[in-house]
Symmetry: C2
């Protein structure tokens, strides 16, 4: 078994991937998946075999889970500054939350309008839900972004029509890390009586989110993205916002999400939210320092390297580069051989090998987008991880450039 940072992960034998020479397991793909905080697992523990009753049961074993679920609801509400825990509905994850938000608003309000606006850099789930809604007569406008990935506010406002029901924009982008001007977007939406849904999956637990100050009507959260368990998520639905459920059944979650509550998962998400609220500031500061060292060193020491996304309005854990004359997939595989796990874009779209729609929306050419590499740090990364990355990455790129017919001969 290889060991990473003590507090962190063990992975089974990597077999052929393990080389004779220097090898260190470094995970820099936190956007795709996170290890669960051990304190979260501990909090979940009693709910698997001890306090396992169904919250809907009338007997003594049904009451304790109810209390646990409500405490978790409060912790999640607190993390995002929601006024009332009742505004939090637990789901099976961010994708379901996005489905509930968009379909929920559209189907509930189809007598009022049939139009929604999303940005060109939304997560694939938002894009595909919007496409699905077209079958039912809804129309979607996709608003462009500038070269940094910032939504163009003028264009956004101009796209609003009398029949517009909803604007859906990510709090920060999951690929390039750009943080959107949510408060300004909210003002535009509300000036026109349009609801605002925000996918906060990439941002949650990294930067403060305040649904009241930000003026958000619906907010998608994932549990794993704050080091909670998989298979749980939440949707914040501001009091008074009417939506239609997408899963019918026993009427759990005040009728908005039927299905027996995943009590251990919900408890885990609650604990993760509690930890995030307490430790986010210090974790993010430490992560951002490491991230800045990566960005500065890469741009300084690797020729023809560029930063994608915004130089300052970006998530503290995100470093997204492009390199001339090399393919992102080749860099990924090269780093992989050295034990470094990274991404070339959204994990959800990775296996399609298409250029990222996010990078294309920022104006990159297909070949530029293909030369991109996404590093996302997390709270279990160490300065030694950064050292190892900064030693390995130039070697990988140098080797690939030597092999590439695209590399200019002069160099």
């Amino acid at each position: 078994m290889l060991k990473g940072k003590d507090d962190f992960c063990e992975v089974p034998d990597l077999g052929s991937l393990k080389q004779e020479g220097k090898f260190r397991l470094v995970y820099m793909d936190y956007v795709s998946g996170k290890p669960v905080d051990s304190r979260v697992l501990e909090a979940m523990n009693p709910y698997h075999r001890e306090i396992f009753g169904n919250p809907s049961s009338l007997h003594l074993l049904g009451d304790l889970p109810v209390e646990a679920v409500e405490n978790a609801r409060k912790a999640v509400a607190d993390l995002i500054g929601a006024k009332d825990p009742k505004e939090i509905v637990f789901t099976s994850g961010a994708t379901e939350s996005n489905n509930l938000a968009l379909k929920g608003v559209c189907f509930r309000n189809q007598n009022k309008g049939n139009h929604l606006i999303i940005s060109a850099i939304e997560h694939i789930s938002i894009i595909n839900i919007a496409k699905y809604l077209e079958k039912f007569g809804f129309k979607t406008t996709s608003v462009g972004v500038d070269k940094y990935g910032l939504v163009n506010l003028d264009k956004l406002e101009k796209q609003i029509r009398p029949e517009t029901l909803l604007i859906s924009i990510n709090y920060a982008n999951n690929e390039i890390g750009t943080i959107e001007p949510i408060k300004e977007i909210s003002k535009i939406a509300h000036d026109h009586n349009v609801l605002l849904h925000v996918d906060a999956v990439a941002a949650e637990g990294q930067i403060p989110i305040d649904v009241q100050k930000d003026g958000i009507d619906l907010l998608t959260l994932s549990s794993n993205d704050i080091y909670g368990p998989r298979g749980v998520g939440a949707l914040y639905i501001k009091s008074g916002t009417m939506i239609e459920p997408i899963i019918q059944g026993g009427g759990q979650e005040r009728g908005l999400r039927s299905g027996t509550e995943n009590v251990p998962g919900i408890v885990g998400m609650g604990k993760a939210a509690e930890i995030a609220k307490k430790e986010m500031e210090s974790d993010s500061a430490r992560i951002q320092k490491m991230r800045d060292r990566i960005i500065n060193t890469v741009l300084d020491t690797i020729d023809h390297s560029y930063l994608n996304g915004h130089p300052t309005l970006r998530l503290p854990n995100n470093a997204h580069f492009r390199f001339d004359y090399v393919e992102g997939e080749a860099i990924l595989l090269g780093l992989n051989m050295r034990g470094i796990a990274v991404s070339t874009g959204s994990a959800c779209a990775a296996k399609r090998l298409e250029p990222s729609h996010v990078l294309i929306a920022t104006g990159l050419l297909k070949e530029e987008a293909h030369g991109s590499l996404e590093l996302t740090l997390g709270k279990y990364n160490s300065e030694e991880d950064v050292d190892y990355l900064l030693e390995s990455l130039p070697q990988v790129i140098d080797r690939l450039r030597k092999l590439s017919p695209l590399t200019p001969k002069e160099e």
Copy 2:
């Protein structure tokens, strides 16, 4: 801390519920929720913090979860005799599986028809999904059952129309435990070119299910009902059966269920399926013996007691009674005070305090339905649990009858 059977559960201090005298914690509400098998938790363990990668990631940490998910898929396929693991789609639970099955078939085939048939004793989720589909122009016929809860096959066949797309019947009923003649129902459905969906949540892990021999096109499974974790379920979709997804996104589960895979949950369900396949026969035999002792003793020793459901075609863990002159809720509370957790009907409908639609469908009067009590045993019950129940139940009923104005004076 009170202790139940050693292998089993600890619950926190029950405070005022704990009496001076004899007290034993006995859980006989397995239909509402089950403790997770400790071997399942152990199997899940590495997937929280060690093998935590996103199956969609291209790097080394993305491959191991893929393998784990596929092994789990095979284990679930094996439990129900599916031909190909690809026929298993993982969901967030049984309610979502039921939604996917019914909406998936209806929306996909709306050019072929607009009619579905369910039984009058389906789970509330099936009933509510059918109601929801009416908004989109689909019609539902509910077929009645006999006094034992068996679906009337003649009536079922007569309800089939040229525009019928789907018949949805539970493998066994979750309240009264009656096992339906699925093979015969399948023959009727297929003779008329209609698909058959079966909700197997109450039956799975208790009696053998073979989707091929039974002739099932879609089958809903829950993980917790086979002692797996909450928040996971599966839908079996026979090869060639076309359905439309209900959650759009990154295209996971071959496009049928988007959302990052809940790898630990899926691994847990796989392990639970593996254990169920191996141990179901001996567990069910032991449980049925205890259950029969309960049924025989109650009917023999408590006056005016009756068994609801079928005398032989019933799930091995189910004992469902009605008692004249007493309310089920009062019995539940009386048993609760003695540490025995039971149910008066489906947990999903328990808090509404309405008479069970299942009991009403079997021909019981409202007051008879209200006098009913559901005991569902599980693999952690012991003969001592049965002793304690059989000692407590007559006392509780006797006391309630003495207080009840309905009790005839002569008695």
